[in-house]
Symmetry: C2
Subunit: 220 residues, 2 copies
């Protein structure tokens, strides 16, 4: 299993596919707990996720959880262990840059605060947006990014600006000490090796669905 | 390399990680072409994507493109080949169910039409939304889903409804002949094996960033 992140740098952490599955297991476990379920088997979790029980057991071993043979996993306990492994039992500061339609939807729709991420700042350049409220914060002018991030020890950022502004904003975030950028623009950002960029073009999810669903062979 | 999709069914197509990389290469190539670049090397593409040249060459071999030694790839040609491989040189019909903040943002923000997906219908149950325009379509009541999808031979759907409605809507889509659902809800949908579901909880992208950026060891 690869131990490299999106940018190919070495790290001592779990591989991105494992992290991706663990984060989805977490959402599933939360739904189970909310529905009153106390215990889930590796097979039960695999059916809900869409993989197999041995993959689930292997992933949960990464947490140091070996399960109890024949008894399944306690839902709440597993939830806590995944949260600890992902690191989201501590709160980190995040900013949003680009408060247009996509940015404001992410700020309103994604429950960051429940998952260790506190939205402490939002930035834009449009006069009609700067000064307005967005969820818990007031939108500031983008010229304040670097100073704000430094002063508030911001570690994470979400980037939803027009592509012409992406690199410049990224530079300001990096100068402000930000260590991770969730990049929703089409631009491949140039950042120093100490900064993690996760590229998320939403159209790519659509393309994957398209390919898998439409070019799917008919059942025999 | 696994040939299974998200739900573990057998298929004769490219593996999801390959599809995922190809769709990102496509976006990169489009940006290069727009910037006036005619040719790109496997190494150049790898730097932009964040992997390595041998992975890029292997992926592009899937297209039947072996490149020309020492000459790099023609950007526009590669773009066309990826489009053909993904199947998006033909247009398929798509509906959106759930026209709240997230749904309407996806409809407005994601350039589906440029990638083989024609938004032909949108559905909701809220009286203040039903009847309003959303991009190219007018929002209909969700009770029309099955009949509309059957009549218009809709193949793809995007699901952005509250979780309590997710399974019921999914059943209507499946009864309407839809073959692929991009599911932005937290619910793991029960669908027949002929239907592909891609689960996309946006929070999971945030969790992956969080883990990789925050638990990243400091540079030595």
């Amino acid at each position: 299993m690869s131990e490299t992140d999106d940018r190919g740098s070495k790290s001592r952490r779990l591989a991105p596919p494992t992290i991706s599955r663990l984060s989805e297991y977490l959402i599933i476990l939360e739904e189970l707990a909310e529905g009153g379920r106390d215990v889930v088997s590796s097979r039960g979790l695999a059916v809900l996720y869409g993989n197999n029980a041995s993959q689930v057991r292997q992933d949960l071993c990464c947490l140091g959880h070996t399960g109890r043979v024949g008894q399944g996993y306690r839902v709440r306990e597993l939830e806590r262990m995944i949260r600890t492994t992902l690191g989201i039992d501590s709160q980190k500061k995040m900013v949003l840059v680009g408060c247009g339609r996509l940015g404001s939807t992410l700020a309103m729709h994604v429950p960051m605060a429940d998952y260790g991420m506190e939205l402490v700042g939002a930035f834009d350049v449009m006069p009609q947006v700067v000064g307005s409220r967005l969820g818990p914060v007031r939108v500031q002018h983008a010229r304040n990014i670097q100073e704000f991030c430094l002063r508030n020890q911001v570690e994470l950022a979400v980037l939803t600006v027009p592509k012409t502004a992406a690199q410049e904003v990224s530079d300001a975030l990096v100068a402000g000490g930000v260590r991770g950028i969730l990049n929703y623009t089409r631009v491949r950002l140039r950042v120093p090796p100490t900064v993690v960029v996760k590229n998320r073009q939403i159209i790519c999810s659509f393309l994957q669905l398209f390919h898998d669903a439409v070019s799917r062979p008919d059942p025999e």
